[in-house]
Amino acid sequence: MITSEKYVLNMGPQHPSTHGGMHLETIMDGEFIDDVIVHLGYDHRSVEKIAESRTYIQFIPYASRLDYLSSNLPTMAYCQAVEKLMQIEVPERAEYIRVIMGELNRIASHLLFVGSLCQDVGATTGLAYCMREREKILNLIEMTGGQRMLSSYMRIGGVSDDLPPEFFPAVKAFLDGVPNMLKEFNGLISGNEILQGRLKDVGVISKEEAIAWSLSGPNLRAAGVPYDIRKEEPYGIYDRFDFEIPTADYCDCWNRYLMRIEEMEQSARIVRQALEGLPEGEFRTKIPRILKPEKGAEVYYRIEGAKGELGFYILSDGTEKPKRLHVRAPSFINLMVLPIISKGERFQDLICNIATLDPVLGECDR
């Protein structure tokens, strides 16, 4: 009688496919996964604690270090949270600029998702193509905020500066290239049978379980729940745009991947509409130098981040610094289903599962 033993395989914190400092203690039965224990904290910078010793304005750059792949979205969420707390009105033009930059950054984040997925399944060329397209967006972000990745372009009361004149032809050129880019991806990446074989029926989670584990973002929409905060509870000026929420009815790696591809198309659509409707006017309102919300005021504000529902909870104690700031990080909550979807699958599938859950460790650990 042949017997086998289970063994522990420590994946990470230094491993090419953990997308950052993450340690997965995988209990393996041969090539099959029996259990995964996720150990986090390698990227912990105590952002939430730092917030308690910074003024409201000083915290903006820290927010961009949360989801560093789409830095305009967390900074926007934070600024809008403070604006809601202080009842600051934002000029129309600033709202449009925020939508443009946010959606562009969402495309950049999804591009990196596709690229790193390709890299993880061994198709390095896919990564190179995604990086090429992402480069164009990073150039656009550089034009506005000066920084390429960790942009602090969003400010409380608006944005830091008006869009520069050279931004408009560049963004138009990018948007014109989007259909072509997606066509290329569909040919090179989605159309590849090996990739489909790697992703289909892998890492399946049911609709009920997805809701129970409070998945959000594209991962939840792949399970067939058309839940997108941009539609559900429109923040900013999202109710003015015409766009669709792509959904699928089977949450495996393949559909999670497809959701991103389709969302890129929708985001490009929103950017096009926002550019058309961009009004003239101020890009920022005057706000006091020192923001002091009244004592005990609290706010929870959520937006649809690139990874899912991104929320900021701020509690004020009447001083210029928040008493408590909490981030609802979608990456962290999405990552928690990893043991469930990986159980009983092969080790190679674990790589796909991590990649398609799309965690950003800066946001997971905070």
Binding site: V121, G122, A123, T124, T125, Y129, I194, R346, F347, Q348
Partner: protein, 345 residues
């Protein structure tokens, strides 16, 4: 023309005559000549690998819309040499818990096995070190020895990643050995010989790729798996197993594995052009050995192209593909060839 054509064979004869002139006994002259031939082979292999690594980087660069190495020398052609120097200067680490004997032998064995293949691989007309009547059998059996070296390395490292990579290597290479051998069987049936020189000579009028297209395709796929190249680079699988059996290796030991992989690649491609693409036959304006290498390099480029385009396949699908598809197809090809021989001969 004749001089270039007979450059290497003529040189060999000259050295032999010179040794006889020195009044050395026949057997000693033959041994010295054999030794010199091996030296030449090792030289060719090393130069080939240096070129190939540079070529692969350059080509993968162009496929990925970047430039590839471009700093050191024209077109970055000295990059590999610089890398080799760097690897030589690296610390040689043997893990404390490793099985030291296996750990040290494995890379050496891998490269020795890879170079052994060149004993029978033809590099041009009459340019084989040994041309004996079972050379193809020798090629297939020696090629499968490399698996053992990988397994030794993986087992000896005492690392779970290495062991997993080694197990995958064994499983994959043994399963793909079968269709590889069967696909060559069709050619053997037509020529009635296992000798490379006879197989190539039989292709004077028509290349076997036209007589045995199915065999060629199965050979090519099985060879990709044998070589551990993408999309079948399971054992290495950088993104999953960090580096498979090579995880614990550093410096020149690691480089030896690398060297052997490229050596195998060239051998398999030479073999492919010899068995299916007419070997040294080609228009006479180029010498036979040039034709041999041009054809082999063409296949090397195809291997590069495939590797840099396709994602890695999953292990279980890889095995399924071998046993449920390639093996029946190559067996069917053997049957088809037999029927064809019955009808047309």
């Amino acid at each position: 023309m004749n001089v270039i054509e007979n450059l290497f064979t003529g040189l060999g004869a000259m050295i032999y005559d010179f040794l006889i002139w020195l009044t050395l006994p026949d057997w000693l002259a033959a041994v010295i000549l054999l030794f010199l031939k091996w030296l030449l082979i090792i030289l060719v292999v090393i130069v080939d690998v240096i070129i190939l690594i540079w070529l692969e980087r350059k080509i993968s660069g162009y496929i990925q819309q970047r430039l590839g190495p471009n700093r050191l020398g024209p077109g970055g052609c000295f990059q590999t040499i610089a890398d080799t120097l760097k690897l030589m200067g690296k610390e040689d680490i043997i893990p404390r818990t490793a099985d030291k004997v296996l750990f040290v032998i494995a890379p050496a064995m891998f490269i020795i096995v890879a170079v052994m293949l060149y004993a029978v691989v033809p590099m041009g007309k009459d340019m084989m070190i040994v041309d004996f009547d079972l050379s193809m059998l020798f090629f297939i059996s020696v090629a499968s020895l490399g698996t053992l070296a990988l397994f030794m390395g993986g087992w000896g490292s005492d690392n779970k990643w290495s062991l997993m990579g080694a197990m995958r290597a064994v499983a994959q290479m043994i399963s793909y050995e079968v269709p590889l051998a069967f696909s060559l069987l069709g050619v053997v049936m037509i020529t009635g010989s296992l000798q490379f020189s006879e197989i190539v000579a039989a292709q004077e009028n028509i290349w076997f790729v036209f007589l045995q297209p199915i065999a060629f395709v199965t050979y090519f796929i099985a060879a990709t798996a044998e070589l551990n190249r993408g999309p079948f680079d399971m054992p290495e699988a950088e993104q999953e197993l960090t580096a498979g059996p090579y995880t614990e290796y550093t410096g020149m030991r690691w480089a030896l594995f690398f060297l052997a992989e490229y050596t195998n690649l060239v051998a398999v491609c030479l073999m492919c052009s010899a068995v299916f693409f007419g070997g040294w036959h080609g228009p006479a304006f180029l010498p036979s050995w040039a034709w041999m290498f041009i054809k082999a390099y063409f296949f090397i480029l195809v291997f590069f192209w495939i590797k840099w385009t396709l994602p890695r396949i999953r292990m279980d699908k890889l095995m399924e593909f071998s046993w449920k598809f390639l093996v029946p197809v190559s067996l069917g090809n053997v049957l088809l060839t037999g029927v064809g021989l019955m009808l047309f001969r």
